[in-house]
Structures are given as structure tokens and as C-alpha cells.
Symmetry: C2
Subunit: 221 residues, 2 copies
DNA sequence: GGGGGGGGCATTGTATACAATGGGTCGAGA
DNA sequence: TCTCGACCCATTGTATACAATGCCCCCCCC
């Protein structure tokens, strides 16, 4: 893996695990010394992260970790609801006992992370479950897109998620595996859709609009 | 629009219109003098184009316009087949006569471009029809993804498309508008799926594998 | 005491210089 | 004449220098 890629992975990991919380500033200089490279390399990574919506770069003000707003959160979940259930049909023909084993191991990791109250690990493992599944579809473009959506979901869950919305996953995911083992495409698809809708519904979206306050209306007597 | 953005748009346009054909090299220096900036600005744009799969950057060898292979072409079309038909349901509630007018005008442009044998224009207008439609879904994330897929499709059509696969679109697109005007969601969805499948089927994918030649097998007596 | 303006500092934007890599060409030897 | 090798040039990778911007604080004036 190239050096840039390593830096990218490390920063992305830190963002997803909320070691770099939403809103955190990412000064080029500090990162440059931290990784032992010049600002040039850091800028490249930051711009990639910006294109993928993990950070926001404001001209002449630099980068900070994206703080997804309500609209973005809902759109990410809606995108997943539209795509992931359909991928079930694509991946089921390839599904075999080896995959089943691998994914059941992953579910166990999720459960133990959850029981130890390692929220960050739990969220990340949940994301991984979903995008590893997407990869089995065989369509690398869609798999990459789902992967990005899952990572963005990690950010969203950490910001708007309730404990319940994350922790119910462990049990849930193994149910999907049962359906896949039975080659029950329709119920597996339905399960996936309901699962994602459940997560979407569990988000706490305080609807106080911080933006677009209509001062004129507000202060007209 | 920022300066970078302008450069990005110009290069992207040139790629989609095949003024920069697949495989064309994009030396940083030449582009830098062409746009009157230093290599720094060009590199940023090229890396963005690379992340979006319009160019390929090979370390120490630079950038060239992506030449989509068979697999990539099929995956792009499959992605669109999975997403776009479903978006019909999302956009139909917002569909009104104003939209209808706008899109019918677009179809006319497509037809005239096609009649004048302006293949590049025709391909691009077709792409635009699809992603403008996607934008009406209200989900900006999916719309942006579809937009990217449509642009990639332009590259693919120019490389693998038959004249028929492009030119049949003009008449086709207006049929979809009729269905949308009738608020016939199911048939509009079906139309979209068939339309994309038709395009996919019309690609000429010569299956001579240029890569991964198995010399060992080839030359073992 | 409060508000507005100016200056300094921290940070990013852009260009350029130098290092490193890859490919192509020219020449020597078989 | 063909092949292998070394050198050179074109191009990219990386670091650094300087310019430009924005923010914050302080001071001055009202």
C-alpha cells in the first residue's frame, strides 16, 4: 500500500471511530508533522476525504470533519434502503457455507464488542458486515458505493444514533444469515429493507434548524 | 465557480465528448501551460478525475483518460439498472407539467443532434436526460452517483456503443415522458429498466482479453 | 464602556525547485 | 545484424518558499 493510502486509511479510521469527532479541525501543518511528510501529501489526502464527504474543506479556512446534517443523514439511509435490499438477489447465487462461516464469525465479534460497551467498535463492525456483504454481489462499483455509505452511516449513527439502534444489530444480523443459508431471497431482501428502515427510524433528528433562520419573520412585530 | 472547478469542468467535458479519447495521456506540464496555472492546480484536478474513474493515474507514469474495460462497462450499466428504475417512484410525486415541458425540450435537442449526426452531442444529451431525471428524485446523494454513472456511460457508449444503441434513444425518451405524465409509475419503472437493459445488450464487447495472457500455458509444448 | 478599525498571527493557496523514476535511444560487443 | 546495457531526457513525486486570506486581539476613539 502506498504511503498516501496509509495516511488516508489512518485518518479515515480516526474519523469513523470518532477519535476525530465531527467538527474537529484538521490543520495541514499538524497532520504533516504527525505523519512525517510535507503538507503536499496531506492536502492530497484531505481533498480525497472531502470528495468522499468525510471532511469539509472551506476555501482559505481549511478542513474539518464533516458534521452530517439531518438531510444528509436521511439521504444516506434512503440510498442504502434503495440499494442494499436489491443486492441480496445479486449475491445469493454466490452464497455458500464458507461465506456463512465468515459472516457468523463477524457477528460474534459484533456481539462481544457490544457487550463490552465498545460503541465505536460496534458501529464499525456493523458497517463492515454490510459492506462485506455488498462486495459479494460481484459488482465492484456498487460495492464501493455501499462501502462509502456505510462509513458515512458510522458518522451519522455516532451523531444521531440511540444506543438501541446500534445494539439491536447483533441479534439481527444473524437472522439475515439464517435467511441467506436457506436461500430465501425474498425474505432476506425484506429483512434488509426493514433493518435499514429501523435504523433510519431510530435516529434522533432534532429538527431545530440551525441554518436559514428567517430573521425577518422572527423579528417583525 | 472556483478556478479549479472551471478547469475540472473543461477537462471532464473534453473527455466525455471524446475530444480527449480513452488512452490519451494528460501530461501535467502541457495542461498547466494550457490553463495558465502551475502543475499544482492541475494535479488536484487530475486526482479528482481519477477518484471518479474518468482518468487513471499510474505512479510515476502520470494520468491518461480511462479506457473502460468490459467488466467496468457492464458494472456501470448494471448499477444504473439497479438504481434508476427505482428512482422513478421517488420522483413521480414531484412530477408536474413544468418538468414535462423542460424534458420534452431536451428530447427535441437530442433528436436534432442525432439527425445532424453529432454523435458526441447526442451521447451527452442522452446522459443529461437521465441524470436530470435522477435529480428530481430529491435525493442528492443518489442523484450525484447517477450523474457520475451517466458520464461514465458516455465514455462506454463511445467506446463500445453501436450507432443503433444511441440513436434509438430519441424516440424512446419521449415515451417515458408520456408515462410520467400519466403518473403510471409501474410502467415507467419497467420502461426505464428495459431501456437500460437494451443499451447494455447493444454494447459490442469483443471478448479478446488483452490482459492476463497465460504465457506458461501458451508456450508449454 | 462599547464599538469600530487596524495590525499581527495562524493557516491555507499557489508556484517553483529539486529528487526520483521510467522509457527511449544510442552504442558496443558478439 | 541483433541484443544487451548504459546513459539521457521527459515526466512525475515531494518538499519548500512565498503570497494571500481570514480571524482574533488590542487599541483608539467616540
Amino acid at each position: 500500500m502506498s504511503n498516501d493510502e496509509k495516511i488516508y486509511q489512518q485518518i479515515l479510521k480516526a474519523i469513523i471511530e470518532h477519535q476525530l469527532p465531527p467538527g474537529a479541525r484538521l490543520p495541514e501543518d499538524s497532520l504533516a508533522v504527525a505523519f512525517g511528510v510535507s503538507r503536499t501529501g496531506i492536502r492530497k489526502v484531505l481533498q480525497r476525504l472531502a470528495l468522499e464527504h468525510f471532511v469539509v474543506i472551506v476555501k482559505n479556512k481549511g478542513a474539518q470533519v464533516n458534521r452530517p446534517n439531518e438531510t444528509e443523514a436521511l439521504e444516506v439511509l434512503d440510498s442504502r434502503i434503495l440499494i442494499e435490499p436489491q443486492l441480496i438477489h445479486e449475491l445469493l447465487p454466490h452464497w455458500n457455507t464458507t461465506h456463512s462461516q465468515t459472516f457468523r464469525t463477524m457477528v460474534q465479534e459484533e456481539n462481544s464488542a457490544e457487550q463490552n460497551s465498545q460503541l465505536a467498535d460496534s458501529i464499525q463492525l456493523t458497517a463492515r458486515f454490510h459492506y462485506e456483504l455488498a462486495k459479494l454481489s460481484g459488482n465492484r462499483i456498487l460495492a464501493a458505493f455501499v462501502e462509502q455509505l456505510c462509513y458515512r452511516s458510522s458518522l451519522i449513527l455516532a451523531a444521531y444514533g440511540t444506543r438501541g439502534s446500534v445494539s439491536c444489530d447483533g441479534g439481527d444480523h444473524s437472522k439475515l444469515l439464517d435467511l441467506l443459508d436457506k436461500k430465501d431471497a425474498n425474505n432476506a431482501e425484506k429483512w434488509m429493507r426493514d433493518h435499514l428502515k429501523h435504523i433510519k427510524a431510530s435516529l434522533i433528528l432534532e429538527s431545530r434548524e440551525e441554518q436559514n433562520i428567517d430573521f425577518k419573520r422572527l423579528f417583525s412585530r
